[in-house]
């Protein structure tokens, strides 16, 4: 047993952290938040040049052929820097969907562009308030045309392609691969609480599309794809959680009240210790999650949903209590506390809410106990 990253992987972390502190300081996130773009194209370009978008794509498709450990490390660092780029949509979701379900022709067509970052992909799943499910899915795929509305779609305004969850003519679930640069695709901006990651509403009207893979994709296969993405998302959330904790600690050491650093008051220090405890447990669960992902373990559903719930809880708590620790200044536009607060909530709902993943976690637990009995 060895429950730690390798030397090379830890070096990658150091390199990624150095790169992002240079290229993705808070001012980059702030300029997207203040402006009217949906992402920072310059940062996306540089991240792609680093090869990060190509991490897990096989070399035959222009990728680096590295593993999920490397991708998890990058995810955490992107979380720490609240990077305003469509990395999770394009890499954990669109790229992974094409690698999991695509035909070799589809892989040849799309993976090189996704690897180089020239193509931005996303997954279009949500259609309504409340969770979109196999039962209520309404976007259709008939005779090669997709029709219906997906909203909100993360990075939907800038994506070149979307993997769209659809209902086929026989009522079964299918994934459609849609080139979004078509006249029959109507996109409008959806204003969200995290404008540093733009979202869109996409209306398809008999939009020409190809079926991903060779036909039907079961809902459980789609959920397995989301499990895999959830592990990586958990690492990104962990980055948010740790940065929020670090920011709160720094502030509590410098800010004086009643003649002493506020970090010396137990009301504050116990709050921060509570953040540390949640973050540590989330990190350990994320370790197990990425091991399960990288080793294609049978326990992936349990490992992924545990990591996801832990990171969601840790990142929301840390982001909330970071603002609280800062007092009034934490509530200003000027301070960066808001970045973590916004991104933590946005990531906690991408892929499904805490309640959804708690439910999925217990389903996996029930199954493992039934198997053990």
């Amino acid at each position: 047993m060895n429950f730690e990253f390798s030397e090379e992987q830890l070096m990658l972390r150091e390199q990624a952290r150095g790169f992002l502190s240079q290229e993705s300081p808070p001012s980059v996130t702030r300029s997207v938040l203040d402006g009217d773009t949906h992402f920072d194209a310059n940062l996306w370009q540089k991240v792609a040049e680093m090869g990060w978008t190509a991490t897990t794509i096989p070399e035959e498709y222009g990728g680096l052929g590295l593993g999920y450990y490397e991708l998890a490390i990058i995810a955490e660092e992107l979380g720490r820097s609240v990077a305003p780029i469509p990395f999770s949509s394009s890499v954990y979701l669109a790229t992974e969907a094409i690698m999991a379900f695509g035909s070799s022709a589809q892989k040849n067509k799309w993976l090189p562009g996704l690897a180089s970052g020239d193509v931005i992909g996303t997954l279009a799943l949500s259609e309504r308030s409340g969770r979109t499910t196999a039962e209520n899915l309404s976007v259709t795929l008939e005779n090669g045309g997709v029709s219906g509305t997906k909203t909100p779609v993360a990075d939907g305004m800038i994506a070149n392609i979307a993997v769209v969850a659809c209902r086929g003519s026989a009522g079964h679930v299918q994934l459609a691969l849609v080139d979004l640069a078509q006249d029959s695709v109507d996109r409008t901006t959806v204003t969200t609480l995290d404008p540093s990651r733009g979202h869109g509403k996409i209306i398809f009207t008999d939009t020409p599309a190809e079926v991903l893979g060779d036909g039907e994709v079961s809902w459980s296969a789609l959920e397995a794809l989301l499990d895999r993405a959830a592990v990586l998302m958990a690492w990104e959330q962990l980055g948010i959680a740790d940065m929020a904790l670090e920011q709160a600690c720094d502030y509590a050491k410098q800010r004086f009240a009643f003649g002493r650093a506020i970090g010396s008051f137990q009301a504050i220090k116990h709050k921060l210790a509570g953040m540390y405890v949640k973050n540590s447990l989330a990190r350990s669960n994320a370790y197990h999650g990425v091991w399960a992902l990288a080793s294609d373990s049978d326990s992936l559903q349990l490992a992924a949903s545990t990591a996801r719930v832990a990171s969601t809880q840790a990142s929301l708590f840390a982001a909330q209590e970071n603002i609280q620790t800062h007092g009034g200044m934490g509530f200003t536009w000027e301070f960066d506390c808001q970045f973590y607060y916004r991104r933590a909530k946005m990531l906690s709902l991408a892929l499904g809410s805490e309640r959804h993943w708690q439910n999925r976690l217990v389903s996996a637990l029930q199954e493992s106990h039934a198997n053990a009995a």
């Binding site: 010396s264 220090k269 990288a294």
Partner: protein, 401 residues
């Protein structure tokens, strides 16, 4: 990163499993014996087979096993119903203290008998006026020739009523600041002048004691470290305590909650289908799994030569309140019959025993609040509270009643 055994680890696991299968306790072994006698029998058998305290050096009765091999052994041993709780304090906390601070002849004498379970030890730290503020302890030790004379009182001392030896922290100089005037000793618990009174806990059981010292004499060679070095020596014990007791052993857990939630109904459907029940169980699993994998990360760090740090306080800080919460939740699932104590029914009595025992675990070995301070100050580097007794001679520190 790899969660699976290496070939060598797999071989070690097979050896351990093999030995356990061939040497496990039988009903005959247990018959007519007290839990302590059974525990001693099992410990001696492990010692004779070379499987006791396997992480210790061979000269002390161990086998020099790696941290990961220790985990593997614990995993394999935990598949059997074997007693261990009598040795946690001696082997987990006191032995590491002796290894650092005792004179060589005492290490050679005492450590093998700790490993074999022949001798039971207790830890004489807390006092009526020194619990969370341990360094405020007052039990006096005064030098008289080659001996020290001990007077005072200890409290919450687990196992004192059947211990052979103990380690005791005393005040040897009340005229210096409180942490500086302490000295630690080995004490023979059968020495004249020691009076032991069991304390009845809220569970009705008596696991720990008050221990009174009246002119108890200790030879100087039983001193652990220099005069005035007692606080540093005590920290060795306390750091190992946090590693040794962790989440507090078996009790109500996610597995139990799942079993009960499958058996009982809410509104005519199995409780496990209720979304509020599922959310709670998921949250408990996040804590339980997080602690388990935290442990594996710590073991990996240990096996790379890193020292255990204050971050290990998490185990107890999360584990004890979790035990209390899971136990309470399990009883809730049973509705009004949750309060019924049914010794024959494992499902319910485990929840109830855990519920009643958990308050003690949240206090013993450092309260939740002290553990939280340790994380805040020693892991996160936040400033200490202002301390009114800081730098003041101990005998000038204000005291209450």
């Amino acid at each position: 990163m790899d969660f699976n055994d290496t070939p060598q680890e797999a071989e070690f696991r097979a050896d351990a499993a093999d030995w356990l299968a061939n040497n496990q306790l039988t009903d005959g072994d247990r018959e007519g014996k007290t839990p302590l006698e059974i525990a001693k029998l099992w410990q001696q058998r492990k010692y004779d087979g070379g499987w006791a305290c396997i992480g210790w050096d061979t000269e002390y009765g161990g086998r020099g096993a790696s941290p990961i091999e220790r985990v593997i052994w614990d995993q394999e041993e935990s598949k059997y119903d074997v007693p261990s709780r009598f040795f946690v304090i001696g082997q987990g906390m006191i032995a590491p203290t002796l290894m650092v601070w005792a004179q060589p002849q005492h290490k050679e004498n005492f450590l093998p008998k700790l490993a074999s379970g022949e001798e039971i030890w207790c830890q004489l730290f807390s006092e009526p006026a020194g619990g969370s503020d341990l360094a405020a302890l007052r039990t006096k030790a005064e030098k008289d020739g080659d001996e020290w004379v001990i007077n005072g009182q200890k409290i919450w001392t687990s196992q004192a009523h059947y211990a052979d030896y103990g380690i005791i922290v005393t005040r040897t100089d009340p005229t210096v600041a409180k942490h500086k005037g302490l000295t630690m000793f080995i004490v023979d618990m059968k020495a004249p002048g020691i009076d032991i009174k069991p304390i009845k806990q809220l569970t009705g059981e008596s696991d720990f004691n008050e221990v009174y010292f009246t002119d108890v004499r200790i030879p100087d060679h039983y001193r652990l470290g220099d005069v005035g070095q007692g606080w540093t020596a005590a920290l060795t014990t306390l750091m190992n305590e946090r590693l040794a007791i962790g989440g507090g052993g078996p009790g109500a857990d996610v597995k139990l909650a799942l079993e009960i939630a499958t058996l009982v109904e809410i509104d005519g459907k199995p409780a496990i289908e209720d979304s509020a029940v599922r959310a709670k169980i998921a949250d408990f699993h996040v804590l339980e799994a997080g602690l388990e994998y935290n442990g594996y990360r710590a073991i990996t760090a240990l096996s790379r030569g890193e020292l255990p740090g204050p971050e290990n306080s998490i185990g107890k800080l999360v584990g004890a309140p979790k035990l209390q919460a899971v136990a309470s939740f399990c009883m809730d699932l049973l509705e009004e019959s949750g309060i019924v104590w049914s010794d024959g029914d494992l499902l319910t009595s485990l929840a109830q025993r855990s519920y009643m025992g958990a308050p003690g675990l949240r206090i013993a070995g450092g309260t939740d609040e002290i553990m939280t301070n340790i994380i805040a100050e020693r892991v996160l580097g936040l400033p200490q509270d202002p301390r009114l007794d800081k730098g003041i001679p101990f005998n000038e520190v204000p005291t209450g009643n």
